[in-house]
């Protein structure tokens, strides 16, 4: 009926994916439980920022950069600084985004909502904060008066699926690369010594994300963009280097039994074994 695979994909992407999955193959020819190669490059923007990285999973690529501000800590936590994550996805990375970073085409249904940049930003920000990646008290400058506000900006450069994992890794890699400048007090105001010694902060926790696409009863690890278009749901697990769960987010998709969840946890654990040492090695980089 369809004279080419491309025609089927254009007219009925769900049937296109389902045909492949029935033969136990993915359109990208990857095995179900394999992720694309991950590359993490630190200090990609050394001059303007205090920590940066470029992360890519396959063709999905994001750059992250840290800018610092001095702010006043909340009265109930006089020694604590703050971490703030913002995410931007514009027309550069995918045609369905407008220049303001909002989704333009809204087909509704399917896990296409995953590509809503505000939802991804919210997820990455609260995961970074919840995972207790940095000891916020390390950001104290003067107790009760000033502390660092670490602002991580993540920009998606290319969207080929699984933006959540890439954005999360980019934010963590930038924080691993964070160097705080030296400060001194002048007339009661905090001044930054730009040429002074820089302090590297140690990450308290190394959270590693793994997103698994759900289609019928199949689990597709690290979905590509064409798979994401028609997925029924997504399961994102964030696990730290100790094997504890930071986050288990399942949105949409069929019911997963406890055995299915256990299988997913095994995949997440393997991911941690692979990526946690890489993130840790970023810390010892100069």
């Amino acid at each position: 009926l369809f004279d080419s695979i491309e025609t089927l994909q254009a007219l009925n992407p769900e049937k296109h994916l389902s045909k492949f999955l029935k033969e136990n193959v993915r359109p990208c020819k990857r095995p179900f439980h394999t992720s694309r190669p991950v590359t993490i490059l630190p200090s990609i923007l050394p001059r303007n920022t205090h920590g940066s990285s470029l992360v890519s999973i396959g063709n999905t690529r994001a750059v992250s950069a840290i800018t610092l501000q001095i702010g006043q800590p909340a009265p109930s936590t006089p020694r604590r600084g703050d971490i703030d994550v913002s995410l931007h996805a514009g027309p550069l990375c995918h045609p369905s985004y407008d220049p303001a970073g909002r989704r333009v085409s809204d087909t509704g249904g399917g896990a296409a909502g995953a590509r809503d940049p505000q939802a991804v930003e919210s997820f990455v920000q609260r995961s970074v904060r919840q995972a207790d990646v940095l000891d916020l008290e390390d950001l104290c400058v003067e107790e009760g008066k000033s502390a660092w506000r670490v602002h991580v900006s993540v920009v998606i450069l290319n969207h080929d699926g699984n933006v959540e994992d890439v954005a999360m890794l980019a934010a963590i890699a930038a924080l691993a690369n964070l160097k705080l400048p030296e400060t001194f007090l002048e007339d009661g105001k905090v001044k930054v010594l730009s040429s002074g010694r820089k302090t590297k902060l140690e990450l308290k926790c190394l959270p590693v994300p793994l997103s698994i696409g759900l289609f019928d009863d199949k689990m597709l690890v690290d979905p590509t963009e064409e798979e994401e278009e028609v997925l029924h749901g997504v399961l994102t697990i964030i696990m730290n280097e100790k094997g504890n769960l930071i986050s288990v987010n399942k949105v949409g998709g069929n019911i997963l039994s406890i055995d299915d969840m256990k299988a997913a946890m095994v995949l997440a654990r393997n991911r941690v074994k692979l990526l946690a040492p890489v993130i840790k090695s970023l810390q010892s980089e100069e």
Binding site: G109, G113, D116
Partner: protein, 243 residues
């Protein structure tokens, strides 16, 4: 008042068990539930659910033709969720996505091609379990609107306090230092996880599975309550029609 049947501890054991709950409930007891079906006349379906002090109102419009030309899908309904409350650092968009996808996986969308189903959730008072109660009240409102569903998703909010797993926490229990609230959505037809949302830091894998099992049990009680609420309303309407 909904109480899960618990194995009765003997008095010695009870006095040794540390009760760290604010209102003195036992670990797996849910707060009292009450519901009002069709409190609003304009929407196609509406419901108000009260769980303890948390009170949430939901309105469902649809299935209806979409207002924007590009928004409809040729073979199934599209879902749109409006939720105006931030929960534990998660913005409205993330919550809208979670509710939309979870409900969407249970709604028989193929029955309503080229339509839009709009679900509007309004939190009147929030005292813990906001996301879970929002999902449950949306289910009631969808039933009231007559939207066909393949299964009934029920959300249970759990929290891990110092003493262990506790179900249906109040706001102060959710916000305690070191507590980890999570929302598990289950379906009575099959065992397992339909949806899952976690807040807070580290949780042990075994603890997560225990939360899933406890949510499965608790959702049976919530489902029975929902059935009672809907049957009550339908019964009254039938009596009125035939009188």
């Amino acid at each position: 008042k909904k109480n899960l049947p618990l194995s009765r501890p003997n008095s010695n054991h009870a006095s040794k068990m540390k009760n760290d709950r604010t209102d003195g409930r036992t670990a797996f007891t849910l707060r009292p539930l009450s519901a009002e079906i069709s409190p609003l006349t304009r929407p196609d379906g509406s419901a108000k659910l009260t769980s303890g002090h948390t009170q949430i109102l939901c309105a469902v419009y649809g299935p209806a033709s979409s207002r924007h030309l590009n928004r409809d899908h040729p073979t199934r309904a599209s879902l749109s969720v409006v939720f105006n409350s931030q929960v534990h650092g998660a913005t409205e968009r993330e919550m809208e996505r979670f509710l939309g996808e979870t409900l969407g996986s249970c709604i028989l969308a193929e029955r309503y091609p080229r339509s839009v189903i709009e679900i509007v959730v309004q939190v009147i008072t929030g005292d813990g379990g906001v996301v879970g109660t929002a999902l449950n009240v949306a289910v009631l409102a969808l039933m009231d609107a007559g939207v066909e569903m393949s299964s009934v998703p029920i959300a249970t909010t759990c929290v891990f306090l110092e003493g262990g797993l506790r179900l249906d926490p109040g706001e102060d229990e959710e916000r305690r230092q070191g507590s980890m609230p999570l929302v598990i959505v289950t379906d009575n037809a099959k065992e397992g996880v339909l949806g899952s949302l976690t807040f807070g830091s580290e949780i042990d894998e075994e603890d997560y599975y225990n939360a899933v099992k406890a949510s499965q049990k608790a959702s049976k009680a919530v489902l029975a309550f929902m059935r009672m609420a809907i049957e009550g309303k339908v019964g009254k309407e039938c009596a009125m029609l035939w009188s």
